[in-house]
């Protein structure tokens, strides 16, 4: 078995050439297109529909109904998902789980340059909601599952794929949370691979590093609320709910949370430093050595992506006030979205926000808690890291593989506490601006999507063959 694996691996690695470019790539693109063009927003979309579309492709590839498990929870008919299994030859080997969410953030047509639910290829990029978060990776998971089946791949370990809904909306029904608590056996695995990792390009499009996400910040929403008796707008009064809220928001915008560091972020900056070079690279080295170096952290903070992993961040995302254009507002509220650095509690951040707004008329409350606060980062498990390191060395020689802390939240927050340690591995290189994920005109570099597909297919084969 070992020999076979090595041989297969060697064959795969010599050629970025097993990189299919013909019909295989076209089929992957069609999957990706179908994923993007099936609206899966909470407001108007349907994850169940998309899960069934993906299931149908797997069935075409040879999966039996017994290995395709659709699920929906009561009261959430459109927020369903799919768990698929490719049984391994060794009944004692634990499975590897490929996890992906199929829902996307809301996108308003009138705000976008192009229709967000049409996959458009322009100037080397795919555009559309979900192109980067995370339908390219989902397309690669489905594509990999199909290819393993069609090729009759002899996997020792069972490979499982779970496509879920509700990752993007903290108050919505979450499929990963549901599976962790209701279908724990079905998704049982030694570890899971998920979004959150990936490559980082510099502004010129040069690959800098490949990350494996092994920690994440904790997302928490807070509501700021001001109420007022209101009145007729023809007689304004100094005490106005909108102005009070605006003043509080202005104070929050000016506040900077204290700089923090962990082993993972220090390793991350240390390894990234030589890739980045220059003044920024020097700041990374200095920060990795001494996180209290204020000059270094100030330099890092000038880049929003680095800033996001230096400390807790909080930002206003929603604003709403008033009930008529000719009436003084009776209520004004805002949502503040915080990303909390491991080790700080949501209650501590609430207390800080209440202090910053410096106005007892502004009530700051915790909106909801998405999941349990994680205990700490995942171990840097060689069984997860080594295959990625080998493959990256082949596909992108000289690019370091580093553990990272994700500023965003993933469904790993549900699986890891349930005993399925979850790592972010995608092999897809993203732009320094975040690719418009959650924002306007979300995009994915065409080359990144195709390279990522090749990478994930190969790396899953390595994991699937592990003892």
């Amino acid at each position: 078995m070992r020999i076979f694996v090595s041989a297969a691996l060697a064959a795969a690695l010599t050629i970025p050439a097993t990189a299919q470019t013909g019909p295989g790539q076209a089929r992957f693109r069609a999957l990706y297109k179908e994923l993007v063009e099936t609206n899966t927003t909470l407001s108007a979309g349907d994850c169940t529909l998309l899960a069934h579309k993906m299931g149908a492709h797997l069935k075409d590839a040879g999966y039996t109904d017994a290995d395709l498990h659709y699920f929906t929870a009561e009261g959430h008919p459109k927020e369903g998902g799919l768990v698929a299994r490719l049984p391994g030859s060794d009944p004692h080997a634990k499975a590897v789980l490929l996890l992906g969410h199929i829902d996307v953030v809301e996108a308003m047509r009138e705000d976008w340059t192009r229709d967000p639910f049409t996959l458009l290829e322009e100037n080397g990029y795919f555009y559309g909601r979900g192109t980067s978060d995370m339908k390219a990776q989902v397309a690669a998971w489905v594509d990999t599952m199909m290819r393993l089946k069609e090729e009759g791949f002899k996997n020792r370990r069972t490979v499982k794929m779970a496509l879920t809904c509700g990752e993007e909306t903290s108050t919505a029904f979450n499929g990963a949370s549901y599976l962790s608590s209701h279908e724990r056996e079905l998704i049982d695995a030694e570890f899971a691979l998920n979004e959150g990792g990936g490559g980082r390009l510099n502004a010129a499009g040069k690959p800098l590093m490949m990350t494996i996400q092994a920690a994440e910040k904790f997302p928490q929403n807070y509501q700021l609320e001001v109420t007022n008796p209101g009145g007729h707008s023809s007689r304004p009064m100094p005490d106005n709910a909108i102005y009070k809220l605006a003043a509080g928001l202005t104070r929050i915008s000016a506040y900077v949370f204290p700089i923090q560091a962990s082993d993972i972020t220090r390793t991350y900056f240390a390894k990234l430093s030589p890739q980045v070079g220059g003044e920024m690279g020097a700041a990374m080295t200095a920060f990795a050595k001494d996180p209290t170096d204020k000059t270094a952290s100030a330099k890092l903070a000038s880049d929003p992506s680095y800033n996001a992993i230096l400390h807790t961040t909080c930002v206003a995302t929603l604003l709403n006030a008033g009930h008529a254009n000719n009436a003084l507002p009776q209520r004004a509220d805002a949502n503040i979205n915080c990303r909390i650095f491991p080790g700080t509690t949501p209650d501590q951040v609430r207390a800080t926000l209440q202090e910053i707004v410096a106005d007892p008329a502004i009530k700051v409350t915790l909106v909801d808690k998405r999941s349990e606060v994680p205990k700490g980062p995942q171990p840097v498990n060689p069984r997860v890291f080594a295959p990625v390191e080998k493959l990256v060395a082949k596909m992108w020689p000289g690019i370091p593989v580093v553990p990272s802390m994700s500023a965003g939240a993933t469904d790993g927050a549900f699986l890891t506490p349930a005993g399925i340690p979850t790592y972010g591995v995608s092999g897809m290189f993203g732009d320094p601006d975040g690719n418009g994920a959650h924002g306007l005109n979300e995009r994915m570099r065409v080359k990144s999507a195709y390279d990522g597909r090749d990478f994930l297919y190969e790396v899953v084969k390595i994991y699937a063959s592990q003892k």
């Binding site: 705000d111 930002v315 959650h438």
Partner: protein
């Protein structure tokens, strides 16, 4: 409260709870209740339904169908009006138009102490959306029309009732404007009476201080502030944030005071209110009436929102909305700023001022479509004023009727330019809270409403002769 009441002349206070309602008052209260409890907000209400209910009441009172007109514009089925006509004895005499709007400002149940669409009588107040604005006036007009018909009251002039929709929302279909343009002959009248000119009284049913009659209106104009941004994932905040831009801009608008101005009517108002008010505020009124650039006097007047609004253009943020998800940086936020423009200032000047105030090219300030053109106030003729003052003096001795600049806006602004001079006058007194018009827990003193009903009935009887 009893002691306080006793301190004033008995005629000034009618402790409503203490006296059983007359059958006429009960009938009136039924009309009023039906009005308040029929939701006529733009979002979920239906003016046409309420117009039909009132038409049914008039029909019961004896009006033939030919004198009852439910009018709707084709695209606005729920924003209908009722016009009712009661012919007079003299075919050559011109009519009196009783104008009121049926629609009300939005009200959210969760924000109010009581259900805004249930008429609740508590501690001498009627509570509910529209209890003052403008269902108090609308109910009195319907009551007047019913009583004239049922009691066969002799009158030379025709009485015309117009209950319309859309007064409260700039940009919505406006029934008064529509009638003036499309049913001009039907509503033709020598003059009209409508809301406005609210009187002043002390807190908790305190002393009546003065009655008002509108002599000119400020112009209501809405402006939109827009900020757009590429947005992005909220896990990587950037300094350039649409909500923060808008917040900073709104704070600058909130901190700004427009220059003080005056009209003949507003100076007369302050001069006559001065002795009734007394103290430091009274002195400030006297000083301001003499010199509207007296900064010290203006500063004192500005401490009272009513007086502040009567001496300058005011602008205030009333709505804000932005963002599309809790976990995404906002791509678009906007605010509505409602301005009440002093006569003589143009909406464009105010827009330019707002754009200069926010001092941020990312904030785009645009004027929404104008509600109406600024119109000069109709003259306060002796024919109108003599009975109005005499009847008021009988009921409220020593309480003057003072012309004032209307700080709000009324549908008179559509009727007067159409050749039906329309006066804002109701005979109702508001406490210093302004009856909470458009606000939370809108209310009116019950005795104030019943007194106004009697007063307006007598007044229309005189006018109609």
């Amino acid at each position: 409260m009893r002691n306080a009441a006793a301190a004033f002349a008995a005629c000034l206070i009618l402790p409503a709870a203490a006296q059983p309602l007359s059958p006429g008052q009960q009938a009136f209260r039924g009309i009023y209740k039906e009005m308040v409890e029929t939701n006529t907000t733009l979002s979920v209400g239906d003016c046409t339904v309420l117009a039909q209910k009132m038409a049914a009441r008039l029909k019961t009172a004896g009006y033939p169908d030919s004198d009852l007109h439910i009018l709707t514009a084709p695209d606005h089925p729920k924003e209908g009006s009722l016009v009712a006509v009661l012919p007079g004895s003299d075919p050559k005499a011109k009519a009196i138009l009783l104008l009121a709007h049926l629609d009300v400002v939005e009200a959210k149940r969760e924000d109010w102490t009581r259900d805004p669409f249930t008429l609740v009588e508590e501690d001498g107040y009627f509570y509910g959306r529209g209890t003052a604005d403008d269902k108090s006036v609308a109910a009195i007009w319907v009551d007047v029309m019913v009583r004239f018909k049922q009691e066969k009251i002799a009158h030379r002039r025709p009485l015309k009732l117009a209950l319309t929709c859309g007064e409260e929302t700039n940009g919505a279909f406006n029934g008064a404007k529509w009638l003036a343009a499309n049913q001009r002959a039907l509503i033709d009248a020598e003059f009209g009476l409508t809301e406005g000119g609210w009187g002043t009284m002390g807190e908790n049913g305190g002393k009546r201080i003065a009655l008002g009659i509108n002599a000119g209106e400020k112009l209501s104009q809405n402006y939109t502030l827009d900020v757009t941004n590429p947005g992005g994932h909220s896990m990587r905040p950037v300094k350039d944030n649409a909500i923060y831009h808008l917040s900073a801009g709104l704070l600058k608008i909130g901190a700004y005071d427009f220059p003080t101005q005056s009209t003949d009517a507003s100076r007369e108002y302050f001069a006559r209110m001065a002795p009734l008010t007394g103290g430091e505020m009274g002195a400030a009124m006297t000083a301001f009436a003499k010199n509207d650039q007296d900064a010290r006097a203006a500063a004192v007047l500005a401490t009272d929102p009513r007086f502040n609004a009567a001496m300058r253009t005011t602008c205030v943020a009333t709505l804000i909305n932005g963002g599309h998800a809790t976990n995404a940086l906002p791509q678009h936020v906007s605010a509505n700023v409602n301005c009440r423009i002093f006569p003589g200032t143009t909406p464009e000047t105010v827009r330019d001022k707002l754009q200069a105030l926010v001092a941020d090219p990312q904030i785009k300030v645009t004027a929404q479509a104008a509600h109406n053109e600024p119109a000069p106030a109709p003259p306060l003729t002796p024919m109108l004023m003599k009975p109005l003052i005499a009847e008021a003096a009988k009921r409220w001795p020593g309480v003057p009727v003072i012309p004032q600049l209307e700080i709000g806006a009324t549908d008179a602004s559509f009727m007067t330019p159409a050749g039906i001079p329309t006066y804002g006058f109701t005979g109702m007194f508001f406490e210093p809270d302004g009856s909470r018009l458009h606000g939370l827990n809108e209310r009116i003193r019950a005795p104030v409403l019943y007194e106004a009903r009697d007063y307006l009935f007598d007044l229309i009887r005189i006018y109609s002769k």
